[in-house]
Symmetry: D2
Subunit: 285 residues, 4 copies
């Protein structure tokens, strides 16, 4: 993901310095014209505009605040754009430290997968000070097509986990509904059509229907390969639950959706597209 | 509901004979030109095309198979169109009896409320033999604008309860999501906009958003008055659970949605629009 | 089950006439001294005290009210004792018909499995008129050791489905808790001991712990063989949900327990003991 | 809570130095013979055996690792016993820091309320190195009657949150079951008796039945006053969910129990005993 983003920055004329734990990713980018920094600390000593894309909370904490981290060497007035999907509270924590150092940290998680990253079609949900948004947008425009300012720092994360929680609920709900309808004698395509012209419609029923054969060219019609992995969805639902806990927000369906996806992961479906929940509901006694 | 339907039939030139347990409804229709039958049995003895609209399973059983019921006097080749929302198994039971008597019973539950009934804008989901569908459609066209043939008898009901189960899941999910996002610092209108341009979108987020003020002119912006009552939604979710039980279909979110709406009913929200679930989630500690 | 019950009646000196759909069961009982009736109707014509043990609602309806059913020939003042586990509403329906005919129908579902049936150690939960309880008890005493009068007809069923709903909740809860504790580094036997001396204790943690090896001689320590099958538990939870629907009783955990057991059935665990839920939760990612 | 614990230490002949943010608590203890430290740092500079009792994760982090915290002045070979109920991961974090400094940190959360604290009847669940357990036990024996060694550091917390998760599930399950049974016509005391002689029994059905009048002298028979507050239970369920997240442990019922208790808190029941869930389920439509 990060590699595609770096390439799109270079395509748009930016000079890019890269750092990654995987040597192969780094050397491929080097071949494509990127400079290389051996550590996060070195990177921050050589540029004041830094985009990060990391897997989870502890990685972000380590890369920013570790002994060889970005904050250890960053100059004043640095701009940090973090595209990781993490807990909004961690984004706020990083932003507070950046602010003490006279710099700015903004969260900018993405939606869209590997293909959207390659084709610069990502959506970025950005949280942070409004006066910095234009600058951030000019950079993210190289990598995405929708750059939305969501509010103060952390609201980019908030937007993403809210969206994905509702997405998961809609997907499981659509799967339950399609399965129930089929067992009651309805033709799957006709049922999808009826839902989509009625109040039951949602993104999962309309453009990503989990029942194989209803829509061609999506994971459900390809043995649930590709798409958005169940393990990644489970991770995002975990972030939603942390945020719900921290704010005392009741999320009964979001919470159950998280549990159901966790069971799918534990049962070996982690790498399948998250629409695979349909298949696991339709088993017959 | 039935009264508006009868008026729309008369407007389209049909002679209508009515029967109802509420004398006021009957006399109002009489003033408008309807003839009156004292019992269901009398009604069936005077016409062979009969439309019924009843509250629940036992009412349908009584009106059709009771000692003064429609089947007691109906002529062969009668056509029964039942617009009640009931268990598909009961529709199939009635259809089997009708068939033994040489008649046809089709289920045709509606979606759309009192206003849609008045304006002949209802959607009818019709289950029953294909060869009778044109005749049924010609009648229902007087009262609705979408007449969909869903398959054999019972599939009209199946379509409606599937749609409403997914609708309830989407509504509660949207309510949880809007509330969580707001507590995380997002502006409600901006959050709705982000969801609606992303994969979280559903009917409830787009056209019936449960957060007051996001969309004008809907129940959530009018103290949850009008609209589709929580008690009616709870009834439909109960039908969905019966159908799921009868077919061994797992519906974890549908089942929890049913429980959550039942608690709302028990807490006095039965007559509020079903989007009121948002309000009950947002209470502060 | 029924065969063991019949043998225990004979052991206690009762003359027994049997009827069953499985010829092998009938001939085995005949060898042991039972007389045989070819139909339910014949049975009811030859005795006025009748004990039934049937799998589900429709079987009870058929055996009692079918054209060759018990009610078709039963003499006035017959006593029907139904040990099936069914919907309390169906028990009440049968009791009403019996009452019209001058007879008495009492529900008396059992708890305890095949071994308890053989050894006359069943518990019977009896619903029906108090003045008939002594007579019923004198018969059931031959087959069980606890005969409890629960109230009017249907309350025997109510007691059983209430107990089994709470049992299922306790079993899934214990399974979640044991698994969580083990993953947090606790020794399973020590965790069970701590729960059992504290407020977390329940029947499932104390005498039927679902974690293999914690207690010897129970299904969890024998690959979940024997015991109380997941499919039977799922059936009882379905009855609980019907009863909850009929009485508008909120049962969020009972409802989710039902869904979780249904998924287990659909995934092929129907014949394993219901404590197998532990195994399905503990799978690793 | 901490005050009672300090008094019981003094009663057993220990010299006690106290520190607290509430001046009244401190001066009351001073009157009873305790010495006073102005800060945590001062306290740790004056003794090498320290017992802490704090409300939540951040308080523990602050008191131990803050600039005026215990670790800032503690001598080598100090023994820290933390009786707070917190995330096991935070206990492990504190233990790791203590260990680096040549000291020992053990978690020892309690079960039992204010009265048990006063009467030295608490249960302590202790996590930490076995070779230190005897020393810890000799201190905790002054304040409690059951001192259980659960394993390495963090397992005391793990035991407590496991117990309380299962307790919450049992309490909600018992409430659903009692309410369903009553609506089905069963007498509450008889139902409780039947459950308690059968496999449905649990601590909540036997000694803390949530239905008013079934057991005298407990919160449910006193308008749900006293006992274990819903807000505290909700906090513990939040810790259970964090631990479940951190270990990928599926807890569908535990998760739903958490959500249900959170809604109760938001609806104003936070200070009522956690058995109040019965009352909120039994409302009539």
């Amino acid at each position: 993901m990060g590699a595609s983003m770096a390439r799109n920055l270079m395509k748009n004329g930016h000079k890019v310095i890269v750092n990654d734990v995987v040597p192969e990713s780094v050397s491929a980018l080097k071949n494509d014209g990127a400079e290389v920094a051996q550590t996060a600390a070195e990177l921050a000593s050589r540029t004041s505009t830094i985009v990060t894309m990391l897997p989870s909370n502890p990685h972000v904490r380590e890369v920013y605040t570790g002994s060889n981290g970005l904050f250890s060497t960053a100059s004043q007035d640095s701009l940090f754009i973090d595209s990781s999907t993490i807990d909004p509270a961690v984004s706020q924590e990083m932003a507070a430290i950046a602010s003490e150092k006279g710099s700015t940290f903004m969260d900018a998680p993405v939606s869209g997968g590997v293909v959207a990253a390659r084709d610069a079609l990502l959506t970025f949900m950005v949280g942070g000070p409004e006066e910095k948004f234009d600058e951030v947008k000019s950079i993210l425009d190289c990598m995405g097509k929708n750059i939305v300012h969501c509010g103060k720092v952390g609201t980019g994360q908030a937007s993403k986990i809210c969206n994905n929680m509702l997405l998961a609920i809609g997907m499981i709900g659509t799967s339950e509904t399609m399965n129930l309808g089929i067992r009651l004698g309805l033709d799957p395509k006709l049922l999808a059509k009826i839902l989509n012209m009625s109040s039951g419609r949602c993104w999962s029923s309309e453009v990503y229907n989990p029942c194989p054969g209803v829509i061609e060219g999506i994971p459900s019609s390809n043995n649930y390969e590709g798409g958005f992995g169940t393990a990644l969805m489970t991770k995002d639902l975990g972030l939603a639950q942390s945020a719900a806990n921290a704010t005392n927000s009741p999320t009964p369906l979001g919470s159950l959706a998280h549990q159901l996806y966790r069971v799918l992961c534990n049962n070996g479906y982690g790498k399948k597209d998250f629409s695979v929940v349909f298949q696991t509901l339709k088993e017959e006694e």
